[in-house]
Symmetry: C2
Subunit: 397 residues, 2 copies
Amino acid sequence: MTPAVDAAAVIARLREADVRSGGRREAWGAPWAAERERLVEHARALVPGVEIERDAFANLWFVVPGRRAETLLLASHVDCVPGGGWLDGILGVHAGLGVLAALTTDGPGERTIAVADWADEEGTRFGRSLLGSSMATGQATRAEIDGLGAAAVLAEHGVVLDRLGERSPRLAHVAAALELHIEQGPILERAGRACAAVSGCLGVRRLAFALTGAAGHAGATPMADRRDPVRAAAEAIAAIGDAGEGLDGYATVGRVEAEPAIPTAIAQRCAFTVDLRHPERDRLVALERAAADAADAAAERHGCGVERRLLWEIDPIAFDSTLVERAVRATGGGAPVVSGPLHDSAALARAGIPAAMVFAPSIGGISHTRAEDTAETDLAEAIATFARLAGELAVSP
Amino acid sequence: MTPAVDAAAVIARLREADVRSGGRREAWGAPWAAERERLVEHARALVPGVEIERDAFANLWFVVPGRRAETLLLASHVDCVPGGGWLDGILGVHAGLGVLAALTTDGPGERTIAVADWADEEGTRFGRSLLGSSMATGQATRAEIDGLGAAAVLAEHGVVLDRLGERSPRLAHVAAALELHIEQGPILERAGRACAAVSGCLGVRRLAFALTGAAGHAGATPMADRRDPVRAAAEAIAAIGDAGEGLDGYATVGRVEAEPAIPTAIAQRCAFTVDLRHPERDRLVALERAAADAADAAAERHGCGVERRLLWEIDPIAFDSTLVERAVRATGGGAPVVSGPLHDSAALARAGIPAAMVFAPSIGGISHTRAEDTAETDLAEAIATFARLAGELAVSP
């Protein structure tokens, strides 16, 4: 059965959501919370009788029970990075609801169909990606949430802190989890593909560094006597970029800040984040080692101290091979791609839940900015393909 | 005549001011304005009959007219960098008032004696050092103030914008200007000197750079395809530090910031300030050239754009040779030092006003932080020496 998903309506919903909330849907903020209320209203209108539930980890569930408890899950996230675009995450949620509606027009089917909106996929507020899906799978523990200083804000948004470490009961019967997402990279566009199956995600090590030195007047301390944390950080960041390139991985310093940030004073401290990714675990570990060594060596050259904190890590994740094969067939047989960005599906796969993804292309490979875009014809084809794959998985194991 | 300055009372005033306003006396802020009100009250009590005036450029003047209009000026500044110490600037103002009191105990003398508190020496708010003294000498023009975006704030604090470019009338008769200040460097302490004459100031070039690239997802853009402004800035900052050292000058990046500062995204822009100093004009210019070249080269390697803006510049300044010689004699005959930090006296010298300075040592060479300190015995000796020099200049040309 190929469900008659209304791709044009899904795209229209995405446009409306973007007009309303723009790039302001950072998780745990007011525009994000408001957009989720709209999502609930929208789901009620689109899927009569849908069961709507907020689990203990602030994730939203939209469920139409089938004849069996065995569940097909279609999930992504409506949150975005500050100043983000109209597709990253929210595409998969609205496409999921559109497919749910199409699959259940004639009443419940064989399998239970669920759509989930994971809370805080982006992790910008607390520096921890995949927060909602990691809480739902019991991977984000109370100790970790406390360590991030996130407990109070999460509790305000309905997270039951005492249940962290447990699994969301809705996951118990998930037999297959699918996620439609934009690629956020240039590969599909270059290959002229409207969609592709995804075989897995790069591994990630995300670190916070701070180099600590000695403040002083910019004109009074001879260069040789300085303990300048900005100079040390600059040398470290340059070396970390080279290491990322040399090891065929990805190394990104997205945030750097000197304190106290006075143009006429040597800084006391320079903090920066490092995001490292690689498809191979061994080389990811080597890249992390290279980053730590670069910071240590630069700090030593300039008499500075080094604070290093692992913000988050995930090993490279392979999606479920059977699901990936079905996705490959559904997308026309082209080779699957590896995702650079991480996705909630990686948290599910890591927790042993069979998962796979379908990508739509990103114009110019651009994402995490307002310029993020995908041609509507490609979007429509990707949504239809996603629906076809979901239609198959709604009936067969 | 050696005026009987009460150094202990001066030190006590400095301690009181520090308890009250701490490191919060950034120019144009409320704690700074409040501290200047206290200064006015204090001067009224300490020097009966003193004329108190705020000139058209927010500078405070305390004047006891002598038999001649010819004026000996004792001036410095009460503002400090955020989180600054108890001596930088404010020492010279309180010492000046102490000396003014001592010199005029028996009524007016030969020369008119003035103490000035220059507004905004540090330049942290608008990135422009020596603002008050440069306005008073007509060197800070209306165009420059507008360019800094400072006009509205300055006008609120009494700066008459239409008079920018004119000289403060009080400067017309200044025959000699003296300033007591802490060294903010390690030279006097290493030489075991309680004070020293200062022969001039290093030249300064202060620049704002911004490298502009292309935002993108940290895991989706291959390293070779990136236009990463943080990576480019890091390479530029490292090279600028090396150039400062190689040219025997001073190069400081005190502020650096990536935007939008998301750990999981390649930044769009990375802004940083560069403060360059050198005692020789030729090598200062070479250092400025090296900094610009370093930024251009790093930007080109990473496909980034470069914005460069000169925030402020001053050539190396030599103080008045006659005054310096007298200061050398007053301080016991030791060799004069060159100041790394810039001072209001440099703005006066640049405007053709005979000026010189006396330094007290800084423990550990530390300044522009709360840890800034000088032994009270050294402070007392420096204040007494400053008073002796002022006493000579109060009577003889």
